[in-house]
Symmetry: D2
Subunit: 401 residues, 4 copies
């Protein structure tokens, strides 16, 4: 049943799915239950409240949908928009590209704003579009908070500021798949209308839950949005919320208990501490990359991502060889370069339930692989740079003080 066994623990450093902590594995190790008996609604009620905390919203309405991030995207779009609606969408890497592809296939009029891969969303262009859209033809802004393919984090507060400045009513739809629970995200403060994430990312669960949160304005929009949806229709959820049974169709019992355990861990650590931990992991990784003499795919510090780092390899090296070798020799999983950056970057995911020594093990591995493929890295250099920073910044584990 394990097709490719290697001794020791697998070092999982793709930007999702990520490592599941033991308490979550334990919580999911259970038989099915009848989701119509009182226990499951009682649990769901708690979960819906708890989930709002990771979105930093009090007014939003969460939907925990048995789907993936791709389904969560579709849920966000089809519930709030109508075919033909003009939306501004930023193409900055493979995942924003895939979302845009979905938007186009769903028949929206997508106004694509493209950046060079490795750069953030062109908010200057957004501003000019918003400024000139007195007729409010733009119905929504679609933006990934963190582009997983390039390790670029966009500035959402600034997006909100632009919309506010021009009092533009466009909905703000945010893909937070590789940010929420890891990078500072504030749904209410930033006036995000729909935010979404997937369970297998910073929540550190298996794949299977698309978690979507809708602002009151988004809920209002859903009443008139004409896009066709059934499986993803929020109105079915809202109907069952009112009934107190919560589920229009069968949820995964295991993932619900797992989500409870995952959220409990996050709240025990403290969401802000979780975010600080990711900042440490991101910073340490970037310091290592620098020490290796390699470039971060992300071109400016303002866009640096604390959940994934795409590392540019020298032209004579094929980054996919690095990924293959990591797996074949070191039991290490790194992320491939995708599409435009295929062969040119490899990615280190550093999100979810992960600590500093795990990351240093990964970085030590990357160094050896770089040497394997002929890059003249000084072994230990990246680890040294990362450690120097970490040794000054890791806090004591609160429960152990």
């Amino acid at each position: 049943m394990d097709y490719v066994y290697g001794p020791g623990r697998n070092h999982l450093f793709v930007p999702g799915p990520v490592n599941i902590p033991e308490p979550v594995l334990r919580a999911m190790n259970r038989n099915n239950e009848d989701y119509r008996s009182p226990a499951v609604p009682a649990l769901t009620k708690i979960l819906l409240e708890d989930v709002k905390k990771i979105f930093k919203t009090t007014s939003g309405t969460p939907f925990i949908i048995p789907t993936t991030g791709t389904g969560a995207w579709e849920s966000a779009l089809t519930n709030t928009l109508s075919p033909g609606d003009r939306i501004v969408s930023f193409l900055i890497g493979q995942f924003s590209l895939l979302w845009i592809d979905q938007q186009q296939r769903l028949n929206f009029n997508v106004d694509v704003v493209e950046s060079e891969w490795g750069q953030g969303a062109r908010l200057d262009i957004l501003e000019s579009k918003i400024a000139s859209d007195n007729a409010h033809t733009i119905k929504a802004i679609c933006i990934v908070h963190n582009e997983t393919a390039t390790g670029v984090t966009n500035n959402l507060a600034k997006v909100r500021k632009i919309l506010d400045e021009y009092q533009h009513p466009a909905l703000l739809l945010v893909d937070g798949v590789s940010s929420i629970c890891a990078i500072d995200f504030r749904m209410d403060e930033w006036g995000v209308d729909v935010a979404l994430t997937g369970s297998q990312k910073a929540l550190s669960l298996p794949t299977g839950l698309g978690i979507v949160c809708a602002s009151p304005k988004a809920i209002e929009a859903s009443k008139t949005a004409k896009s066709l949806r059934v499986f993803f229709d929020w109105s079915d959820y809202l109907k069952f919320y009112k009934l107190g049974t919560y589920w229009p169709y069968t949820p995964s019992i295991q993932l619900l208990y797992g989500l409870k355990a995952a959220l409990d861990l996050i709240f025990e650590e403290g969401l802000d501490n979780v975010i600080l931990r990711h900042k440490r992991l991101g910073t340490a990784t970037r310091l290592a990359v620098e020490a290796w003499g390699l470039k971060n795919c992300t071109q400016k510090e303002e866009w640096f991502s604390d959940t994934v780092t795409a590392v540019v390899v020298p032209p004579n090296i094929d980054s996919s060889e690095i990924v293959k070798r990591a797996w074949k020799r070191y039991n290490l999983n790194l992320g491939l370069g995708l599409n435009k950056v295929a062969g040119k970057v490899f990615r280190i995911g550093h999100l979810g339930n992960l600590n500093e020594l795990q990351l240093l093990g990964c970085l030590a591995g990357v160094e050896m692989i770089l040497k394997d493929v002929g890059y003249p890295v000084k072994l230990g250099s990246g680890v040294a740079a990362a450690s120097a920073y970490l040794q000054n910044n890791i806090p004591l584990i609160p429960s152990r003080i």
Copy 2:
């Protein structure tokens, strides 16, 4: 984390989600993996071949979609049909009703053929519609193989016979959610074009996989079907099948390994033996109901379901009280009566990885509950009737002979 603990094992006799066998729980007790490394495609390749066996198809193309049965329905419809298409659909209980609701919301022209709840699909009416449809305006027949709300199994061979007799090209779309892997189902032999099931039913897994199988004719239809779909679009799967990476978006690693374990158990027992076991469980349940002096909601033997039995309670009793009491006093979960039969029937699910002594424990519980709620049942009568049959029919466990 367990909100409503009761001593001993929960007796789960709803018609899904059903009991998960220990080997499957074990297989799923694992960390995430990188689904882009070679191990997951290798596993997927095996799964896609294995899954075809439970559909009894060699020519079909399976899709293992991270969704529920409701999503599988949507996948079946939107990939093969275009808005406005006329489809004949049979309303015989709550689940066929929900599917029809979906069909209507997806803008098909649904020609609903209704039966009294407790009766099977009106195939006589189908025949007359087919016979008169020389223009082939009917694009698809949608039918549940087994209606979970009433415990009615439809005769699919007969549907095929009707279509063949009139050489009608309508697609045959079958909801096999509560039949496949439990009730005899033959995709190729019966010329089913799309068949589907959910992981939490007879496969005895957690919820999370909608498994859909498409005939070559259905695949062909998908090339021209104009219904909008993105998440559920087969073409994305087919593209990744060709690439050998298989997944257009992230699958649940745990469910893939769980599916492998579940299928292995089914193949070890033998699919035909699994079906025979369900026949024993169904027969035993019906004999108990008869012994209690109660009526089966299913009105004729030809429709008897081997996966769920809906038991009609006397008019002075509210069946939902039975379900509540089962849970509160006996740690037993029975199915509620739904919609038209709410309060009038309770349901015993007897599908999945279940054996005869588990069922007899349930039946003994139902007897006590019937007495609790004032029905003058003779305690032991149902168990006696069921046992008399079972004692004559249970085979030795092959691995223990």
Copy 3:
């Protein structure tokens, strides 16, 4: 890895090892930990306090030893007695016999008081021995609270009464392996000096912990007892208790967490409710046996055991055939007759985390097996008798009211 797979859940009705509840399986599903870091002592401290509750002692000292019941016996004897010491020991079945064998091999002077198998300890003989032992040559009374081979529960309060009446200082050593946590046991009130149980019995854990509790008098005796012991020496434990590190050698991390979960379940249900549940299960079983026209191996009601029932089969039937058939055809595990009652009785274990419907499933199975082997049982008769009693006596599950 599962050598003899059978569909559905295994019905485990041997009197140990018993079914492990899911929350306990979950708690044990974990990696190893460093038992010298602060977490494990903190857990151990809680466990030692909690364990005293199931012995109903406040003054006793518990030892959680990585061993089995056989090791726990040896611990009880060697820590409190010296070679050549006279001990009165009751032979009433296979397990008391094995303990006596151990006592003799450990070079004690064992004064064996034998009963017919199926009868309790001859306390009348004990009384006469105590009455005449003015010289206090008897150093200890060794008695099984519940003889697992015959389903006989001895009256410990009466033993204490006899000792008190003659102010006899003999230590009272009690094997509570198949009683503690299931049958009323009161260490302090009954003046028990050493009591012991095993994790795989009513605690519903895997095998691996021998739990021994010593009264202050037993601890005092351990200071002068000359029996050789090292692995089982209490003094090593006491030394580490004082140090606050608790463990003289490596404990099973998994079993410690499992024990915590198991005790939490028992305390949530309430120890007295657990005992009442076992009384219901025992009574129901005996009523079934009576209805089948069979005899309980236990000859008088005063000795009836609420954790195991040994059922006498008619002379023409070999009880081991019943046990074999149960396993081969019904996925049911019953206990064999042992030694003197081999072939003559089979045993139904009804202890641990078990509820009434599980038991009724087992009883229904036994009925079919009896028929299989040619005994003219009326199918349903035992279940009916048991149900009639249970339906009047099962309480609502408190967490679900």
Copy 4:
């Protein structure tokens, strides 16, 4: 239930209990079974054969005892020796000291040969004792293969050579607790009479199995050995081996299946490859220690241990502070210095199911801790030294080539 949660994975680098691989956790995630039904003996039979392979014996008789290493010691001694027997035993660290303490408490006449801690057994003294023991008063040589407290591996081949040279019949009893399955060990070739290990060491299981293997000569000795033993008596096992039921008392079902899984992993990797992997891990650790400018407690290369490295800290540093800090800040568990080397060394366990990147993460952690406590380490230096060696020596994972 998790008293001292820290984010990310715990880095467990004590020399036992060690990390349990996921396939083993999965195998143990199961309900109890009846150990008297045919499945458990069938499994046991396989295990007894498989276990012999890790001892490299074909003629030995294995005993899988529900106990710890301390119990395994007692089993080895009491089954082969009689009180008063003269045994030569080597005191080279805390664990050999504890074994000697046990030997003395068991009333053997222990001829202790002491070494400075950090040195190996004084085989020169052994030789002189053997040479002069024409009367064969020495009944056994007791030696730890690997002293876990100091990281010293003794040369067992040489011990055999000495005994052979003088044709001395003393039994050779070997504690292989921290060597077997990790350091080259050859029971038959080296004429070891009793060898033993514990499940929580290189086998990478939970604590709970003491695995003892006896040569034909040891089995012969057990027939006349007069040491008192009951729980640990091999004769009970041998009796049940003959009966084919194998177990004199209840085994842990979970550990048996776990042992099967653990052995399967070892055989899949290849025992010799497992040993080579430990050699790599040991070498890498020693190179790091050297790079840090610290000393290995082990004084000569011939004694270097591939399973544990005791690192000597400078006099101004308390090594227990290092261990505390590792746990409190880095979620890393290191081994304390024990007894004579308390405060002076900390230990890095590098045994069991562990790979190189895990070790490098640990080494990076140790570097930061060294800096934390004021030792002027150059961050990255140890990792660099270890990596340089590893990058040249790690083989491809065979299943992934």
